[in-house]
Subunit: 192 residues, 2 copies
């Protein structure tokens, strides 16, 4: 039996990433869970961010940002970066997270995040919901050598150990285990 | 040490959902992994979909669709629905998934998905990447009684057992375990 729950704002599962913008001493970071890939040519992602965030100001100033994939080991820091504003708090000092240089954009990446995506702001979009979406072209990525797959060309999700955000529950989770290979297991259902 | 990997189209983790549109015998479904929440007032979500999908045609015809959260038990069916087109295949017959009525929109929900989101198309957005984004207002949700939390007002993510898509690895994963409470654990880092 299904139960009607009304127009809830929920989806399962969701990512939780740290967005960094600004350069030098002004760089700051923000936790974002409304984020998705949004294009292939060029590779791009889309973020939905609150209009009052300090990090949004920094993105508008420099036109660049990084999206950093945290591991479960820094869930406390991820939560903290979503709770306070960079206007009132020195998030770097308080979180203990550290910045490292990006390869191709001005804003730094977060050293403690094993996978880092460097973006150039392509467009701001006013959504019909009143929310603001940022489209970022992915101009480079970097990853800790410790999370690379066997041939060293990409990261392995099991080694990244990313945070899964459980909306509704308001909880951070780990990933569990591999269930099936994609673009593969479904073929058995195909009839010619 | 970080290794530079170039402009990869990757993010960790990602959801995997089934989007249904069309009504009656014409209803069909599509697997989508580029999806995020995109607004609060009204609650809304954003999907990025390929332009040639049969399900996109159906969404344009009826202006409504449902987003269905699958559990790991139907990972094979989820994979299948992303591998074939509803133009050439009867996805309902081949997958064995069944439709159930929505509460407020024409297209049905998928019975075997424990959480179902009913949407009205608000806007199509041409992204600067050349991709197409659909913004859907969440007008209702329903969930299996078996996945509801103790007070029956919302679903519990552990009971939904949603699929986590691991891009790059091209794998479907389960969620693991709760790491921390959000909007909570980070407070310990705050200095006044």
């Amino acid at each position: 039996m299904k139960k009607q729950l009304g127009p809830q704002r929920r989806m399962y599962p969701m990512p939780a990433v740290l967005v960094v913008s600004g350069t030098g001493d002004r760089a700051s970071m923000l936790t974002v869970v409304w984020v998705t890939l949004a294009g292939s040519k060029p590779p791009a992602l889309a973020l939905v961010v609150g209009r009052r965030h300090h990090t949004l100001e920094l993105i508008r100033e420099c036109g660049e940002f990084t999206v950093n994939i945290p591991s479960t080991a820094i869930a406390t820091q991820v939560d903290y970066c979503g709770m306070v504003s960079g206007r009132d708090h020195d998030k770097v000092a308080e979180s203990g997270l550290t910045f490292a240089p990006s390869n191709t954009v001005g804003p730094p990446v977060i050293q403690e995040c094993p996978y880092n995506i460097e973006c150039r702001l392509m467009q701001e979009i006013e959504l019909p919901t009143g929310s603001l979406m940022l489209i970022g072209e992915i101009v480079d990525t970097q990853a800790d050598e410790s999370v690379l797959n066997a041939d060293g060309t990409a990261a392995d999700v099991a080694l990244i150990d990313p945070i899964v955000y459980a909306s509704g529950n308001r909880e951070y989770w780990s990933m569990g285990e591999k269930i099936a290979d994609a673009y593969s297991v479904g073929a058995e259902l195909k009839r010619d």
